[in-house]
Point group: C2
DNA sequence: TTCATATGTCACCCAATGGTGACATATAAA
DNA sequence: TTTATATGTCACCATTGGGTGACATATGAA
């Protein structure tokens, strides 16, 4: 029955790898990131979003919404002639966990190691000054 | 003298906004993300990296390195006829802090709120079962 | 019913992107 | 000095991406 999986009708031959790629590509554009920012609070209608981007045509905004929806970053609900667009933060959380966070963690631990070394060096220097030509 | 700033020779009129955009665009490509993964450990020579991507031409890899360097994700050091490429994780940490983390945090707190409501509902139901038709 | 509004879709344009092979240059090794 | 190796650079190609206006459709309001 796969209710909420309607978007991948018969062959979910989309690997996680491909889904992540779609997310990264969707996030590469600043306008799309700003759309997601706007949707961070509450869902908005397409028209409402269009009004928030005066420098873009309606068609352009809808294309961006399409890209976001394909990347599964959007949950779309139709209500009469209105379309409500809601942020789906899960894919963001996923690229965070799988790629961003590991790099940030690695950087943090590298900094810690470096800090330790610098402090050791500083301590040695101090010792040398106070008591020169010591054991080593 | 601006030693390490040689890449922006005279007009560093690059806003932070533009720098972030460059980082996002650089990260949008899977091959480039994999290059950064490889550089997560130790620096590598260009040739070494090329060997790690058998399905890509040397020119293609160098183009990717160029994109990464422009996004300031790479620290490049030349040594004889060899070029050492090192990861600079700072821009990653920055887009993390400015964009990814806020969204992840928002999602987390939304989940918490939701959890609280569900538990309240559940508690009410239980109470109702145990002691039906109570105050409300 | 008639009309205005919200959205969907199409065809087209131009710039940017990712890829290639060929050629040029500099440096370590023989 | 000659030769092999590691990079740098150029010109070119095909595809994708972001943008547009014009037209089509559906639905709430008058």
């Amino acid at each position: 029955m796969q209710s909420h999986e309607a978007k991948r009708p018969r062959a979910p031959e989309v690997t996680q790898r491909e889904r992540d790629d779609a997310v990264w590509r969707a996030l590469a554009d600043r306008n799309r990131r700003e759309i997601l920012d706007l949707l961070g609070g509450e869902p908005r209608t397409t028209g409402g979003l269009v009004d928030s981007f005066p420098h873009l045509s309606r068609t352009a905004v809808m294309k961006h919404l399409d890209v976001l929806e394909r990347a599964d970053l959007l949950i779309v609900r139709r209500e009469g002639r209105v379309r409500w667009n809601q942020l789906n933060p899960i894919p963001i959380e996923q690229i965070h966990e799988r790629w961003v966070a590991p790099h940030v963690r690695r950087m943090a631990s590298a900094l810690l190691r470096l800090k330790g070394q610098v402090e050791k060096k500083a301590a040695q220097k101090t010792r040398t000054k106070i008591n020169p030509r010591r054991k080593r």
